[in-house]
Symmetry: C2
Subunit: 380 residues, 2 copies
């Protein structure tokens, strides 16, 4: 198997409602990544998007984005894993280059959530036969998990507030972030109850965005870019589909197994990781991910946040450019933003948000209620 | 790159309306393929489906089908390219095994079209901004192409009737086919006009179905199956998205380029191909594909049909088990049915439909109005 590296990244600012169409968002992110990489050809494009079927009435987006980016005639496919679709596109672009079928592959994610009512559409990541008819939504399932977590481990009601506080703090100097302002712990804890016990500031926002990464064989990477970033591991693991069918809903088993699978593939230990881009669609998920990946014991993840160990100078920096909460979570694009941010960190281009001496970064994306989890580890 | 072979196939009968749910269809096809291959483990599952977002309210099907098939914890992703999604799943399963990331990968397609009104949903494979608002549907665009073809090449109005006649003839002895009955040229030509000049019997039906193939490295294939079938080529090519933006709408350039890319990868000539599973969603598309792949000059594809050169004992047998027209076209499953049928042909298991001495077979899948075309060549 060929080793694969990232040779270029491209991001658009996340916006509440972009003036660009979905295809324009995707096409522009692709062009930015091409420019960053300085490549003169692309063999394959793997597109990620979750909501265009309903939001834009469009079910054939890979070919459309390729055309918009003026990449005529190339391979173009769409890859999905619900909210983890962005990482899924990276996964397949990785397979494409690793196998030798492509020498230059792009993974691009684009989402335009501003054109309709998204909550019921997002619920389609749950079980349409056994959960949605009973009234479940992504928000209600996350609220359940938070309640269970607070109760079982006697966590104070405001035990998770530092997750959004750190995310917002880091978003301030990220030019691509949606919310470039700090929030205080009090503001988080006083924010509107969305679905008890979940509060508004614990939930990622509805927004538009697009981002892309360009992959090439590591052997050829320096021909394009003097500072390539190697993909040390790519892992996908599924769990029992419904939370209620799992032995312990608070153990994200797919996240646990995917993390360890990735450590093994990258031949590293958890301690070697300098930053961790988590899937903080809801603060509780970030907390459970820290535990699943081994950064805290069960029931102790919230303490990492409370004790400020997740900030840029903490033991394990997360959401270093704002995370899903404050950079924004344009669903199908999110995994690509995570990857772009890690590349910026590992190449010393993260500006005020730079994690010192960052050489290994991990990202983890969650589809549905952690039914599908993808982990990627990058290194320089 | 590792050579990849098919070591097992699984098909369910195509039905007007299946009693099984979408996940059950997918899960059952997977179990059948696993049984056929005799594998004791699966590393990765790539699922194909086009319509579940709207038809079943389900956007997270790969993980769901993996669970239904009792493949807990494996990698599972969905792959799409509109109506070519089945072939897209094969493409990614191929990349997964070729790269070395998986030793046993499944591509499965499942579609349940019977649970709603599909025509407007199918139109989402066209341009939602520039075609659909003008009233375009997959049917209307195909009707346009047929009109243009008949007019430009002075083809008689009934010039294409042999495409459905041959498909139906071949479906008669395929236990998985929807329509197991012959139709006469007169019946085709007298069938109801759906969208002038397209008639009912030139259009593939709305139906439910699921099929799967299991891939493994060719080196290990005989450990599972004494008669593996090698994937000699896998190719994806895109065209200008809209027919109206192409220099000549009757030249399916993506099909042309994908065919030739596949011949090159397989290191064969067109003449070496013993059967060709085309994407006869509409007879005109089968006709244009024969031309694009080089089996006929432009404007002459219809003659191959009229002169009976596409039947089992003709120069280039197509739709050997009924094709999309008569086996059925449960969209996301179609590419998998095509692959299963070619494997049966190349391993001498096609029963009454056996193409004699078949050693090399090609399948081609079309997404949207040939905006995305996938070609796979198989050999023994």
């Amino acid at each position: 198997m060929r080793s694969v590296s990232v040779v270029g990244v491209g991001q658009l600012p996340v916006e509440k409602a972009s003036e660009l169409s979905l295809r324009q968002l995707g096409g522009k992110a692709v062009r930015r990544a091409i420019e960053d990489a300085g490549v003169d050809r692309v063999d394959a494009l793997f597109a990620s998007n979750m909501l265009a079927d309903e939001m834009q009435g469009q079910k054939h987006i890979a070919s459309l984005i390729a055309e918009e980016a003026k990449l005529f005639g190339i391979e173009a496919l769409q890859v999905r894993a619900a909210m983890a679709s962005g990482a899924a596109a990276i996964r397949v672009a990785f397979l494409s280059v690793a196998s030798g079928e492509a020498d230059v592959a792009i993974a691009v994610g684009a989402e335009k959530m501003s054109e309709g009512v998204v909550t019921p559409v997002l619920s389609k990541a749950l079980d349409a036969k056994k959960e949605v008819p009973d009234g479940a939504t992504m928000i209600s399932k996350s609220a359940e998990l938070k309640r269970m977590y607070l109760d079982r481990y006697n966590v104070p009601e405001d035990g998770l507030v530092n997750f959004p506080v750190v995310a917002h703090d880091n978003a301030r100097s990220n030019p691509f972030a949606l919310f470039k302002k700090a929030v205080s712990p009090t503001e988080v804890q006083n924010s509107r109850v969305i679905h008890g016990p979940l509060r508004l500031f614990e939930c990622s926002p509805i927004c538009d965005g697009a981002a892309a990464v360009i992959l090439a064989p590591s052997e050829q990477a320096r021909a394009y870019n003097p500072h390539p970033v190697q993909i040390l591991a790519s892992s996908v693991v599924t769990d029992r589909f419904r939370i209620d069918d799992r032995q312990d809903p608070l153990q994200l088993e797919a996240a646990q197994r995917s993390s360890h699978d990735a450590y093994r593939k990258a031949n590293i230990n958890r301690e070697d990781i300098h930053l961790f881009e988590v899937h903080d669609a809801f603060s509780i998920m970030a907390c459970l991910q820290l535990e699943a990946a081994g950064f805290a014991e069960s029931g102790q993840g919230w303490r990492l946040a409370a004790e400020d160990e997740i900030s840029l100078r903490g033991q394990i920096p997360i959401t270093t450019m704002g995370g899903l909460k404050a950079r924004g979570h344009p669903i199908g694009a999110t995994g690509l933003y995570q990857a772009c941010e890690i590349v910026l960190q590992l190449t010393g281009r993260a500006g005020e948000n730079q994690v010192r001496n960052a050489e290994i970064g991990m990202m983890q994306s969650i589809g549905g209620a952690a039914s599908t989890v993808l982990t990627h580890i990058f290194g320089v």
